[in-house]
């Protein structure tokens, strides 16, 4: 008797889990199909892109090399990664230093300044874009790496995130280091920074992502071809060669492959980072 009841429970659970798998599977396929279409279209001859048959009749691997022939795609890659690397480095360093001053040092006016930082988090980016653009015009930094890197490297957000992180590190540690005669810089660099590694990695990943995908600022700042980043280069490619859907898809695939590699490599950090509120907006 008991056995049949167990069996019923097992059957019920199996049915429920089966139904969950069906729902989740259907949604997973919905997520995946556009990506599959993109990859398959990137290998097709142009006239086959519009056909219902998902697979190319002949695999055109040279679509990818043709992208490099038509636009300086390698340059776009370099620019995007070069700029993102600098922005990430500067943001992490300056945010960590500021966060240390807010979380660990006691000084008059600290909370007022911090509240000023917090207050700017709600301001839409476009409010500051307009004056920043005119500043760049005045400083003759339009169309330069400096103009692309520097204004993006001082977010209040990173400071806020790392401050929250540093507050969880026991203060006894830096008090002990101070007793041993360590200077504030030594405490920062040798005690607090190593313990903030997880927070720095999280901030680093999301800053890199934000810069790699950033669109508005490069769009208004870049005039010459050799400075174009991937998003701007792709937009230009689409405007000029937009009819060649197969090549556009090849370029899109090349654009998102580094992101997929990053996600697979750092998934744990990314998921936790989102759950800690590391993503703005």
């Amino acid at each position: 008797m008991a056995k049949s009841k167990d069996f019923a429970a097992w059957w019920y659970r199996r049915g429920r889990f089966g139904a969950s798998h069906i729902v989740l599977g259907v949604i997973a396929v919905t997520m995946l199909v556009p990506f599959m279409w993109m990859v398959l279209a990137s290998f097709k001859p142009l006239q086959e892109v519009e056909q219902l048959n998902p697979f190319p009749s002949q695999w055109r691997f040279d679509n990818y090399s043709r992208v490099f022939e038509q636009v300086p795609f390698a340059r776009y890659y370099f620019n995007s990664i070069f700029i993102a690397a600098w922005v990430t480095f500067l943001t992490c360093l300056t945010s960590a230093m500021a966060a240390y001053a807010f979380a660990r040092l006691r000084w008059r006016g600290r909370d007022t300044v911090f509240r000023l930082y917090l207050a700017t988090l709600m301001i839409p980016g476009v409010v500051v874009m307009i004056p920043n653009y005119t500043i760049m015009v005045k400083l003759h930094l339009l169309d330069s790496y400096t103009g692309l890197i520097v204004p993006a490297s001082f977010g209040a957000f990173g400071t806020f995130l790392l401050r929250q992180f540093m507050l969880t590190i026991p203060p006894a540690l830096d008090e002990a280091a101070a007793m041993d005669g360590a200077s504030p810089w030594q405490i920062f660099w040798d005690v607090v920074m190593p313990l903030s590694r997880a927070g720095l990695v999280t901030l680093g990943i999301f800053t890199f992502l934000g810069s790699y995908g950033s669109f508005f600022w490069p769009l208004i700042l870049i005039k010459s071809e050799h400075l174009r980043t991937l998003p701007i280069g792709m937009l230009f490619f689409d405007t000029v060669y937009g009819r060649q859907t197969n090549l556009i898809m090849a370029a899109s695939v090349m654009n998102i492959v580094p992101l997929i590699i990053l996600f697979v490599a750092a998934q744990r950090h990314i998921v936790r980072g989102v759950q800690l509120g590391a993503v703005k907006g």
Binding site: A28, W37, V113, M122, V126, I260
Partner: protein, 328 residues
Amino acid sequence: MKSRRHELRAALGFLLPNLLGFLTFTAGPVLFSLVVSFSNWHLHRTIPFQWIWSGNFLALLRDPQFIMYSLNTIYLMLGLPLAVAGSLALAILLSQRLRGIVVYRTLFYLPTFTAGVALMLLWKALYNPEFGAFNAVINRALDLAHADQLVRSLGGAGVSAPTWLLSTKNLWGLEAEYVRVGPGQWGLGARDALIIMGVWIAIGGNNMLLYLAGVANIPTELVEAAQLDGAGRWAIFRNVTWPQLAPTTFFIVVMSCIGGLQGGFEQARVMTQGGPAGTTTTIAYYIYTKAFEEFQIGYAAALSWILFSAIFVITMINWRLGSKELSY
């Protein structure tokens, strides 16, 4: 006393690099843009500079485009409740002890993680009325069903696949240029296409991860107690899960509203140029065209402050409602 002064100097040293950048590129520009919004500043044309005080703001109230683009922005935000509800449903499904959870989570998160110009070009290609994959499927289905002849024989005007990003039609039947329901405007158009894409991108994204964390934090005793009382799954959701997730939902709604109000720029620039007939132009895209295509810096600054005020007010309202909701 001496050590405190020492700390102040150290703090200044640590703060300085970031503070300088913050003052130059964030705090300063915010004030600067407020000041500029009271002027008629034009960047490239030789209109004499003048303080016109409330002039830009009064002009905004009479700017029919501003009103239309505000409504477009709100229209495009209609996908948000759908995406949030979907994220919640997915998070609850993923919170069961199932095999392959990480695989599902990865696939669901993929569109959010890769979102950007590349994905927008992909969706632009998918939506292409002649060559796109969507209409290839829809046209085949209509052919197989003989839908066009069927509707014509019943006296209708015939059926054809939507033209997506090229169409001003919409699910609410609104006219493109005026705020009223127009004949023949009912259907699927550019705005709906952008909403569908937005839901696809966002449904398994950050909100789902936040809900997953929220569900994981619900004390198991609460669920077990409810089960012992014989509560069904819906009752558990209604009385345990949903109230326990209220802070998460509140955060997500606030962030979605903030994001939605200032959103729509990238899609408009990459996929539609704000068209057709301005139906996909949002406030953010309007500011961009005013500032960086027409160089009316003063007017654009005023617009951006109106946008900021709207975000501020809505956040405050959410806060009020939220704290009332959360207090019991």
